[in-house]
Symmetry: C2
Subunit: 477 residues, 2 copies
């Protein structure tokens, strides 16, 4: 008989039917009740064993983590919180899990311990829920873009360009690590390297996405990006996934409209499709917060936070206005900010963003029209000559989740900005071509996927929302 | 007025309506007919200009590649092959494209030339069609897996493990390229590197996907993978995208069933959703084949080939049977194979696979149960002790498009295979854990996305189905 997924069986319609299921034992109580989970759902199915009918030796191996196949009849359950259970007729052990050695026992484990067991941690309820929500979010992203006329574009991962300047890069090479070939000037001779030049891992697919937007209209990337920065924080990864839409004929306002609609839409998707996992994660977060002082607990529960985003307009304010608010704010006047806000032109720090989002507006905020001096070369210079059409979306608890801009489409202005920033124009010959031939207003943004998953699942550390995190000193598995 | 996408306007329902569209000029004939394309469709919309009503200087800049905004009325078209056209009232030039300098003029360009203009080649009809089909295929893949209970799993790109052995790897490093730190034994001291160890770009996410399948049941990867091999062929890339599903409780037959159903389903999706692009690519292929000798032309057109795959069962035969067929084949007896097939156990070469698929069976073929000696350590040893539960799917014109296997779930057998192959077991501690704790029958396969796009679009060179190809000596853009 073909095996079923547990999620498909957890309904009264199945009562009286013969079924086969495979899964892993979560718990085995009283030599009688197996909670069996196959990853298809947060919920396990209860399998009831008549222990007198089975070999003792077999039953001794039914321990947490063991893989088993169960055949039997679906019956109404008398247990709490479940409609049905399986009366077990046959029980087959795929593979045991020695309780003396199996690390994932049914008790509380620290997140640090589980990170060292990243190959097994997804067998816990928490990580399984996080990874199912992550998968659903990824699908919602593809679905949204597909339904809105975007094409999925694969930006190159290995890049010969380092012009974007978004951060430190990893070198990609096949040269002899100890005795690299040298030029006559005694420098490493990259013409001997695999690609005939120095290459790095990409920090962003934006520039290449612009090339595709200027032909296909609307495109997006969804791929891995890299930062070789020695940041050991709960918000940084050396390898993370990023979504970067890019749209021809869209100005900054269109860009903000799209970003807001996009985020609301994908969060709505998980509210509709991941209810059980979100309820579980909400409860987990509540339990976790109970251990903290009242002042550090969220006012809203996880699902309330998600609904707050989907149901409310994001507050949009220009950078200049944000500076005024911050300058006149209580923490600034009382010198509580680590970085005081005194004059127009300073870059905003995390503490300032959090004040605006969590204390002042108490909702997602879009800041726009930033000083040109603190932003990247490709952002469109506004008519005031000192700000650029940039926008950042700030989320409660997470900080910056989206960074975007209208792109400079005017060749002469772009060339001037590139020169001012000391970037080698030759590196960008093809990017400038996009302004030489058929240039037009266009915009885009980048959204860090793991930050979004953090927000959606309530997980405090970004290392716990990606299967195998890469951070300084850590590339296990 | 808000602008529309051209694909939405190409219907008679719009006749009489005022519209605004943005796009790029494909051609401008007789100072009167602009063929305008915005990437939303293979088809351009004809925009009719009354040249007496517009400034000469403006009209002179309406050249191939220029970006324009057109406002006007949709009217019935008298032209062939189009239902509607736009009577232009306003014409705005976003950005010109100097015909003396713009490389993508409306004439035939060589594929080699277009590769050097990879940032602009997507402005041609051919590349736009290829990339739209590529995007649709990617979506179909996510949709299929989502609808069939799989979770999308992001395998790590930077890996500290080189045990998979699928090919040469790229090193990822932040060490000083010229003067790397050395150990006392005068070797490169990787403990000083970013991750505290030697790291490489992944060649496959399979091993990590297995860890996730053994908790979530069914998972798949869809991400970039890398080979540092000096292969300058029309079938190899140094960076390419791969799809790797992995399923707990699935044996080799289930694996073949899934692979066949999956491929048919996603090809059906593009037949239903990319008709215009496929018709265009079919015609392009026909034109290209006309320049070749009759014997080298396909018997089937592009769409016929796709339908042939979706509508017919793949032929499944064991390796042993394939060897018999090849040994007794005409080319083998007449010594036409470069590698003669004499005995059981030899690896199959491309010429053998092509013979089986294109001459003998004339349909997609699944070969299975290969000699253990020529396959990877993780494939499940069959009861005969000399073959493993591997399977390859071979496609006409493309060769191997899928490689998969049932995985060895028995700890002792796996350890023995690892030792035989001289792999360091310590590297695989976590992979072996999957057999120590809750092990079960499981299977999976890998599908090279670009090979699939080649098959779906009829493009002869794999460099022409990925936006910015990476090959030896080439990492431009």
């Amino acid at each position: 008989m073909e095996a079923y997924r547990i999620i498909d069986l957890l309904h009264r319609d199945w009562i009286g039917k013969e079924v086969v299921v495979n899964g892993w034992v979560r718990t085995f109580r009283s030599n009688r009740f197996i909670a069996l989970n196959d990853g298809s759902s947060q919920r396990s199915i209860q399998c009831v064993v008549d222990f007198e009918a089975f070999d003792d030796n077999l039953l001794r191996q039914i321990t947490t983590g063991a893989a088993v196949r169960v055949s039997g009849t679906v019956v109404e359950s008398m247990g709490r919180g479940q409609d049905v259970e399986i009366q077990v007729r046959d029980l087959f052990l795929h593979g045991g899990a020695d309780p003396e050695r199996y690390p994932i026992q049914p008790k509380k484990h620290s997140m640090e311990f589980l990170r060292e067991q990243a190959h097994l941690r997804v067998r816990t309820n928490t990580f399984a829920a996080v990874m199912r929500v992550r998968s659903a979010l990824a699908f919602a992203i593809h679905k949204y873009f597909r339904e809105n006329g975007f094409y999925y574009f694969h930006a190159p991962i290995i890049t010969g360009s380092d012009a974007e300047g978004a951060g430190e890069m990893f070198r990609v090479t096949t040269l002899d690590p100890k005795d690299p070939p040298l030029t006559e000037a005694n420098e490493v001779d990259y013409t001997e390297d695999f690609f005939g030049k120095e290459t790095n891992l990409t920090v962003s697919g934006q520039l290449e996405a612009e090339a595709y937007a200027m032909a296909l209209g609307k495109v997006y990337t969804f791929g891995p990006t890299f930062r070789a920065e020695n940041s050991n924080t709960s918000r940084h990864l050396a390898e993370f996934w990023m979504i970067e839409p890019e749209m021809a004929f869209h100005d900054l306002k269109d860009n903000m409209d799209l970003a807001e609609d996009f985020i609301k839409n994908i969060l709505r998707y998980i509210l509709e499709n991941c209810e059980e996992d979100l309820l579980f994660l909400e409860k987990r977060l509540l339990d976790e917060e109970k251990t903290r002082p009242q002042a550090e607990r969220s006012e809203l529960s996880l699902i309330e936070k998600l609904k707050f985003v989907t149901d409310n307009e994001f507050k949009r304010i220009p950078y200049t206005e944000a500076i005024d608010i911050l300058r006149n704010s209580k923490p600034n006047k009382k010198k509580k900010f680590q970085f005081p806000v005194n004059e127009w032109g300073v870059d905003l720090q995390s503490e300032h963003e959090r004040y605006l989002v969590e204390k002042h507006f108490k909702c997602p905020v879009i800041l726009f029209d930033y000083p040109a001096r603190i932003k990247a070369f490709y952002m469109r210079l506004n008519d005031d000559g000192k700000t650029v059409g940039a926008m950042d979306i700030l989320f409660p608890g997470i900080g910056e989740i989206v960074g975007g801009s209208q792109r400079e489409e005017r060749l002469d202005v772009l060339e001037k900005r590139i020169a001012e920033m000391g970037i080698d124009e030759k590196e960008l010959w093809w990017y400038l071509d996009l302004r030489r031939f058929g240039s037009a207003v266009h915009s885009g943004f980048g959204l860090g996927f793991e930050r979004l998953v953090q927000f959606a699942t309530g997980m405090g550390n970004i290392r716990d929302v990606i299967p195998f995190p890469r951070t300084p000193q850590n590339a296990e598995f």
